[in-house]
């Protein structure tokens, strides 16, 4: 059974996000794999440990995705594929989804896993978009994915802690909320070693057209409010908290 993990990298939120002229200067930012895609990859690798499946990590060449793909190989993916073409960092999700959908159909992928969301997918989440374009069975906000014959089972989370156990016929698309275990760690040395021994498969692709939306401006939202800040001295902060709790009568007498 063939599993594809659709991955993308996103700006690193650890860095300060500076907006210039109503847009993000993406070329000046550092990128990291989307954390939910990392979870999807981990879930796929766990599925590989319990069933006869081939895991392929797939990313679109919108910048430097090589390291992300080599890391996927170092973690245990069987193949890593880079969809190449004239793509910029600002490639909308609708076009990304078209590229991924074309690949999954052409390669007859059985189970597509990807992150349930990403921090920048304002025009739709990849899992739903790929499912809609390919007409595949799908579910999002899921975890605990297992192969059972020609079916996959998973748990779908609802609000408030309620959940459902589901079974989908393959081919299927799943938007992964979290893997069963935290994403595995690989050393930089292991990634470098893989870079020497493995190659990324490049597949030429064309995005075509899709119904897009126009972004007028990006900006830092005005906070509705802000905490009264107590500074950065541990003892002073602890003292302030005790006084506050005394005032509010929240301390045990």
């Amino acid at each position: 059974m063939k599993i594809a993990v659709l991955m993308k990298d996103v700006p690193d939120l650890v860095e300060e996000l500076e907006v210039e002229d109503g847009a993000l200067p993406l070329d000046d930012m550092s990128f990291v794999p989307s954390e939910w895609d990392d979870q999807a990859l981990e879930e796929a690798l766990l599925m590989k440990e319990e069933a006869d499946v081939e895991v392929t990590a797939v990313a679109i060449d919108t910048g430097d995705v090589d390291n992300m793909l080599f890391t996927a190989l170092a973690k245990g993916a069987d193949r890593a594929v880079k969809l190449v073409g004239d793509f910029s960092r600002t490639l909308p999700n609708r076009l990304r989804a078209r590229l991924f959908a074309q690949y999954c159909q052409a390669q007859a992928i059985d189970v597509v896993l990807t992150g349930v969301q990403a921090i920048d997918d304002l025009d739709g989440q990849i899992a739903g978009l790929v499912a809609g374009l390919t007409g595949r069975a799908h579910a999002s906000v899921v975890r605990d994915v297992h192969i059972e014959g020609s079916q996959v089972t998973c748990v779908q989370e609802y609000s408030g802690g309620k959940m459902a156990e589901m079974q989908l016929a393959v081919p299927a698309v799943l938007g992964i909320q979290a893997a069963r275990k935290p994403p595995r760690y690989v050393t930089i040395a292991k990634v470098r070693q893989i870079q020497k021994s493995a190659t990324l498969e490049e597949v030429e692709a064309e995005a075509g057209t899709a119904p897009l939306v126009t972004v007028r401006r990006i900006y830092k939202p005005e906070a509705a409010g802000h905490a009264e800040m107590w500074g950065d001295d541990v003892d002073a902060v602890a003292e302030s908290i005790v006084r506050l709790l005394e005032d509010k009568k929240l301390l045990r007498s």
């Binding site: 300060e16 996000l17 609708r94 349930v116 969301q117 920048d120 997918d121 304002l122 025009d123 739709g124 989440q125 899992a127 739903g128 978009l129 809609g132 374009l133 069975a137 799908h138 906000v141 989370e157 609802y158 609000s159 408030g160 802690g161 309620k162 959940m163 459902a164 156990e165 589901m166 989908l168 016929a169 299927a172 938007g175 935290p182 119904p211 897009l212 126009t214 972004v215 007028r216 990006i218 900006y219 830092k220 939202p221 509705a224 409010g225 802000h226 905490a227 009264e228 800040m229 107590w230 541990v234 003892d235 902060v237 602890a238 003292e239 908290i241 005790v242 709790l245 929240l250 045990r252």
Partner: protein, 318 residues
């Protein structure tokens, strides 16, 4: 604007708050341009729930396939409705159902989409939406084209206060060919403790760094007479059980005191705790969104603060 189609969700026999929010804004937008509001709802129980909703038409999908939520059945029904009615705007809440159906519906119907909407308004002739992106650190104002699918974050604006008497139309449920719901499980009740009943919550997030540091949170909670809860990454890492999780996919809590320690405040977490009476947040990132809902905050290291605060509280008690 022609027709606004709103995908309704019911909870305990009534329309969810999130759906009421969509209805309020949908009605405003439709009214301004002589349009209409249509609700799409599922299951026998929906009929009573939407009887006095402020909509012109309510389509109730009924049959074996909608006894519980099944993404395939719901999507087939919605796709048929959209195909038939050609709405100018489709609104869904950004819940599991919205995450499931919004993008796939948009893709299969070749309609544009705006996700994570927190505001929706008309500016001259254009319909605009604000989309919350980058974990709530940034917002984008987006033009919403005719026919778009928009998913709205619950709690973005007040619920509809008005009521109406929509004309009810029935639609038979499509069959599920590829997707089966095997079992629906209610929320894990309580676990070892029920965080929704605690007056004081010491809630830890990614900033905890290591499960061994949970002991510091336990000691602080003990000194305060509170309970330890957490954000999603702590559960995903296996450090605390799911019953302790606060947020969209966990519990909604309203304690007298909510200590957010090492929690940045992703929108999904804020949804579950923003109504706490008193919120004290400690996070090393001074720009963390948690400080926007907290009443008091500090940027010290939680691993230093927790023992210092515990010591003070114990000293005071002793």
């Amino acid at each position: 604007m022609g027709q606004v189609l709103i995908v309704a969700e019911c909870q305990d026999g009534r329309l969810s708050d999130a759906t009421q929010e969509l209805i309020g804004r949908g009605r405003e937008l439709a009214q301004a341009t002589g349009g209409t509001v249509t609700l799409a709802a599922f299951g026998e129980g929906a009929r009573d729930a939407l009887r006095d909703a402020d909509a012109d038409v309510a389509v109730v999908v009924n049959g074996d396939g909608v006894q519980q939520y099944n993404p395939e059945v719901y999507e087939e029904a919605l796709a048929a409705m959209v195909e038939d009615r050609q709405p100018a705007l489709v609104l869904l809440s950004n819940t599991t159902m919205g995450m499931d159906l919004g993008a796939s519906l948009a893709a299969r119907q070749a309609r544009p989409m705006v996700a994570y909407c927190t505001a929706l308004w008309r500016d001259d002739d254009a319909l605009l939406a604000t989309s919350q992106i980058y974990g709530g650190k940034l917002a984008a104002d987006v033009e919403v084209p005719d026919g778009a699918v928009v998913t709205v974050i619950p709690g973005s604006w007040p619920a509809a206060g008005s009521s109406g008497s929509p004309r009810i139309e029935e639609m038979p449920s499509p069959a599920a060919a590829h997707t089966r719901v095997l079992k629906v499980m209610e929320a894990e009740s309580g676990g070892d403790v029920d965080i929704t009943r605690a007056d004081i919550l010491v809630s830890v997030g990614r900033g905890l760094q290591d499960p061994d540091n949970l002991e510091l949170a336990d000691q602080l909670a003990e000194a305060l007479g509170g309970v330890v809860s957490c954000s999603r990454p702590v559960v995903d890492a296996g450090w605390l059980p799911r019953s302790r999780q606060v947020g969209k996919s966990g519990k909604t809590v309203k304690p007298k005191l909510y200590f957010a320690l090492g929690i940045s405040g992703a929108p999904e977490h804020l949804q579950g705790m923003k109504d706490a009476e008193l919120i004290v947040a400690v996070n090393s990132d001074e720009n963390a969104p948690i400080f926007e809902v907290a009443h008091y905050g500090a940027t010290v290291d939680i691993l230093d603060l927790m023992p210092a605060l515990t010591e003070r509280l114990e000293g005071r008690a002793g």
